[in-house]
Point group: D2
């Protein structure tokens, strides 16, 4: 969470952002609508599924969309798409992503997840909606209902896309590979939104880059095993990989300009089965965020260089590097973004739309538009009462303590989605 | 493997150590005996079990001892003890350890292990007799048979102890806690032996320390999790633990005298589930070998100091340190050791007994004597034809490639055990 | 050099920025004026002096100002101030800094420096005008001559300040401590400029922060000396300090948000006299750049934490930290900056004024205004023909290869200074 | 100081080693002799000179030897040689080394050194007799006097060699290159001794290696300089060299067997002139101790590998490695050593001769014999009253606090030298 938002949040936390004070709120979402979607949210939150394994989630979405009279269909495995048709007009695609994360939830919520899943490696892990995709689903279902119920307010077609596997950068690609834009009408614009630890009724976006390029690699370091008492018989892969981890820090600290926003995170490190055996190998993963292709190439090249050289320093052979995922750019169309921002401000009130990117996060939503040359607009939305910011910043996405307020998230997410979509297909457009 | 043995081995590899040239070999072990025990060895090698889980192994040992007319009984869980009685005379205890290791065997032998086991953590792992305890068992069974069949050559009592869990330093302690020396006669001496990657018919021992003190610790490093793109929200436990790993190297390189033989090995390092999530914690294990209590305290204290300080450097709270195991001294009685060495030399020929310790290995056998104030003598024995040393040193204990020769190990291990025991209870003593 | 300027430079390098095409150039600086000032520049460049030792430089400046009929006086040791009076009107202060750097010049210029100086530590070092302050002096002398010769174009008073010791952040403070604003009229605005490796006729500035806050610390690490063969008798201060250097990298890589521009540089590291003696101490210096007070405090606190903890990890006592210098903010007044930018654009042509800060550089010029509550405007100016950018970026400030073009620097620096000053006191203001 | 000596010292410190209780002391050294030589010691201690600059020291030695009627001559620059002739018999060479060290003495003695010297680099440094070579000189002068005055006790020739530059391994080589064994009679044995922080009247030696092989290298690391605020323009040589320093620790901790006594010390580290300039280069020195040629090659090869790889990791070119010095073996002749040990024991009493090497120290004395195929015997001698060991080990050689007791050193050093020499040329031999 970058400092501009923090500044806004601090201001907000001492001011009053009153839901009831915002006129549009009164009639758009009925108490019944909100209650029902809060329940849906609690259900979804308690039942997260890992990337590319969203089968129950897909079934749930399909059922709810079917109840609205829509004709949802599967795309890309566990993806679900439905088209709401309403006469002539633009075609808007709206994407909600649906997958959870291998995190052990520690929110203490009564609807906290106790789910488990199985990683591609075969490892069983706890699962949590730690990035808030459950709020995306429920807002997607909510906006579907609004679009169906309020056809007098708009005309055109809306392609609702419930996309799996955003966290692994595999979902958007899977939808495209499965012919998304052959099975659904090609849109004039692709919209998407993401929840964050920001106050309710607040949204944020800016023209240009909204998220970083992101690359994840798995690096296998080769040593030579031996008894723990005989280091001279070994090439210690743990010392070797630890040296790599420390040396990788110098890419950001020494090789990039201070003004260049980039991250090199080692997210996992695994080696060895027994304390008195020096293992044969160590494996770690790196996750890289860069602002553009040029920096991306520079950082990935530096990682390759450092990893290979540290292996040489250990007298070991060159490590194996495998790509886990590659997130594309998420580029908000400069022509369309100001209009969407204005629509969000009209919906939530003056001062609620913050001009800022998502920070260093990554997103594969942009690919859905980039792949067919269609502009994209993506925004963030808040999910917590202002009062929760009094004592400092609450836990953020990917924390085991990340805890959107159900009611705040439903109201802000659904209204933002509806406002964004109606900016393009609304009767007053 | 320390240099004295290497020198001997190199000499041996260019000379001839002829089994048939050693007179005692001719009549002691019949061809039938050797063939049968080679088969037993192949069976045991193919069916290793993890420390404290040696149930099938214990059943196998019990069955074989029963076939000899002995009355084996269980001690300390999966331990098996049998007393061979033969009139008046000294009481000798002879210990063989029985557990395998969580190593994926890569010897390519037709009787290689494909066994799996479950670690205390619940993790399923491959298992291998990677430290050669299968040779110890088969030599223990062999010496039992010799003792039973050749009662005219000795008098007294021999307590045969098949001890579990040597690798975790839990076995000797478990036997003692279960009343070993109440259930079996208290001995005048405790003997034990260990296989190594040395030529057949070679043994090695020295008075005083035969093995290092060894301590294993599990260290849990506490950080603060966050999304991989937001290091500023995190306290990165992987960078923290990597810094610890590198700093721990300086204990041996800078804090101990060059003449002080000590090892600090980080044998495992585990952190993180997903490449784009900075985890909350990292866990690594250290295995420490030291020559005496003074150095042991110095090294353990340095580890505590470094680990705590590196946590502070990261702004993290103090790591948790848990003891996994603690190996006691293995001290060969200076009065008795020369006699045992002479007996081994008489058995295998001049020049076959090498004066050297086991190196930096650890052993809990010493505890069986230390606990009751009884002297201990422990020796190593070779297990490979001299020809295997022509191209350099073969793979050592705890390597996935460690491969004693079945016939060499049976002959050398059984004869060494019998010679060592008869040194104390033999008619010619 | 941050990317916006690089983009401009690349564009410029393929376009044509023609000095003769800019009308104002024709009459403002005569060929004679340019030739004379190029000679002055070559003289100054060949005779750099270290911070706070600018005695010859001050004498030279004083002589030249005296030749113009001005009455220069010394302030703050080696500072020189002259006031050009011209009737009623605003008071403008214009600052030029005068010190060189301890760098061994490697430009190969025929007027390259072979000067040496003595650091406060007593060490003799080579000296170079490696940051281009010689261009500042010559532009200051040039603008003094223009102000004297062209009194019909302006009215008011201009305080010309030739400030020593900018590189050590001691100069502005020294002037103030010596009563600068009691000895010279208190100005309405403080102006200053800085040369960079940018094309001639290009200037750059923006409202708000123009430079980083900068702090420099000297850190003395305490170990325990011993013979090189007896590390166990020592606490090795070199290993300790090396561990600090690597750990300090994690402040930028892990503790700050990727969007926060900050630098932690270890610029010097000195320890030991003889290869076989482990020394008692090691000393290194850090130079820190931060965008604001909050980040400054965070980074300095992290340095203190890491340095203390790494000492503890070594079993050493806490290092000594001494402040070498502390650069204040350099804050361009948001109200006045656009006007100065417009004046520079009027002078040099459309597209020549780039909106950007200096990058991560530091400057104490801001203090001259901040200390008396007077607004400051500071800009950068280019110094090299466009053709020099064809093959990539030329060497930058503080490089031993940094090489402004004498003629380009004289013309751009003098004209920029005159345009900036006349924006406030010019007849057409 | 290795543990055997510590054990002896601890025993000694609680026992009584009484100088007056040792008969030989009574008549050998008169009170006047001791007082005079204590004065000489204090003079020499107060006037140390750096290696290869021992001009005043050589003059002093020459004067004293001349006063004895000997005919000293210069060899190898600042070396001084004198032959004491006394009829037929063996030829014994006795070497005393004469150089001081660049250490700032901190003993607080009233005759502490305040001398300075100039290193080959041109740097001015303090100088101290930090390795006790002043005790060697004074014992050499003392033994010369005894040999001259007590001709009835011996016959043969003694070549007294006052050798410069032992600390840089250049002195013995310089003597040989200057034709030492052409200018002086070729000896039957070469003797030498070295002071240590051991009790007076104690000596120590053993057959075989008495000291390590030692190699010193200067390593120049190449980076790319830049302003401290622009790390992206630089290749930071300080971070690069710091990474090397930490990685070099793994040679001892991970690449050598725990039983292999070896040291890799980084004794100096110098980089940078100014805190805000990233320098072009860094320079550090390594000092390596190894027990034999095989380990020496392994360690030096590992240093080369690590240094080159870490440069590659930084994207820098390969560092430059230059040899500073290379100490040969110091090998005590196994045939002659027991006799010398017996002679020392006869001189100082039972239990005063300890069987141990010097530890990891290095010495070029061995070269004087090795170069001409003549056996060498070298011993250490104590220099402090037993009472000084009550509170623990006193400061050792190369410490700024190393403080032999003048009287203890004179008595022990002179008597040991005389006993050692007379073992070969004494009338009772």
């Amino acid at each position: 969470m970058s400092s501009p938002l923090e500044a806004i949040i601090r201001a907000a936390a001492t001011a009053t952002l009153d839901p009831d004070a915002v006129p549009a709120a009164a009639h758009l979402l009925s108490d019944e609508f909100v209650s029902e979607h809060v329940e849906r949210y609690r259900h979804l939150h308690a039942h997260p599924e890992l990337s590319s394994s969203e089968t129950e989630t897909a079934a749930y979405i399909t059922a709810r969309l079917g109840e609205l009279g829509l004709a949802p269909f599967a795309v890309g495995g566990t993806g679900v798409v439905a088209v709401v048709e309403n006469g002539d007009g633009p075609v808007v695609a709206f994407r909600a992503d649906t997958d959870g994360l291998p995190i052990l939830e520690q929110t203490g919520l009564d609807y906290a997840s106790s789910a488990t899943g199985v990683l591609p490696s075969g490892e069983a892990v706890p699962v949590m909606h730690g990035c808030g995709h459950d709020t995306h689903i429920v807002a997607g279902l909510g906006v579907a209902q609004l679009l169906v119920e309020r056809r007098d307010e708009w005309s055109g077609r809306v392609v609702l896309i419930f996309q799996p596997a955003e966290e692994t950068a595999a979902g958007a690609r899977a939808l495209l590979d499965d012919g998304l834009w052959l099975k659904a009408p090609k849109p004039d614009v692709v919209l998407a939104q993401h929840v964050g630890p920001a106050p309710e009724l607040v949204t944020f976006l800016n023209p240009g880059n909204m998220a970083s390029l992101a690359d994840s690699w798995r690096i296998t370091v080769f040593g030579k095993g031996a008894h723990g008492s005989q280091p001279e018989q070994s090439i210690d892969p743990i010392v070797q990989a630890a040296a790599m981890v420390l040396r990788l820090q110098t890419i950001v600290s020494r090789e990039l300009a201070p003004q260049t926003p980039a991250v090199v995170t080692v997210g996992t490190f695994h080696a060895g089965l027994k304390e008195n055996i020096i293992p044969e190998t160590a494996e770690f993963t790196v996750n890289v965020r860069t602002p553009n292709e040029e920096v991306r190439e520079q950082v990935l090249s530096a990682i390759r260089r450092i990893v290979a050289a540290e292996a040489t320093a250990s007298g070991a052979r060159e490590p194996r590097i495998e790509e886990i995922s590659r997130f594309p750019r998420l580029y908000n169309d400069p022509g369309l973004t100001p209009g969407v921002a204005a629509a969000l401000e009209a919906e939530f009130g003056a001062g609620t739309v913050i001009s800022m990117p998502m920070g260093m996060g990554s997103e594969d939503a942009g690919l859905l538009g980039d792949a067919i040359g269609v502009p994209v607009v993506f925004w963030g939305f808040g999910s917590m009462p202002v009062s929760e910011f009094a004592g400092g910043m609450p836990a953020a996405n990917h924390s085991p303590f990340f805890k959107p307020n159900a009611r705040s998230a439903v109201i802000t997410g659904t209204r933002a989605a509806y406002a964004g979509i109606l900016h393009f297909v609304g009767s007053e457009r």
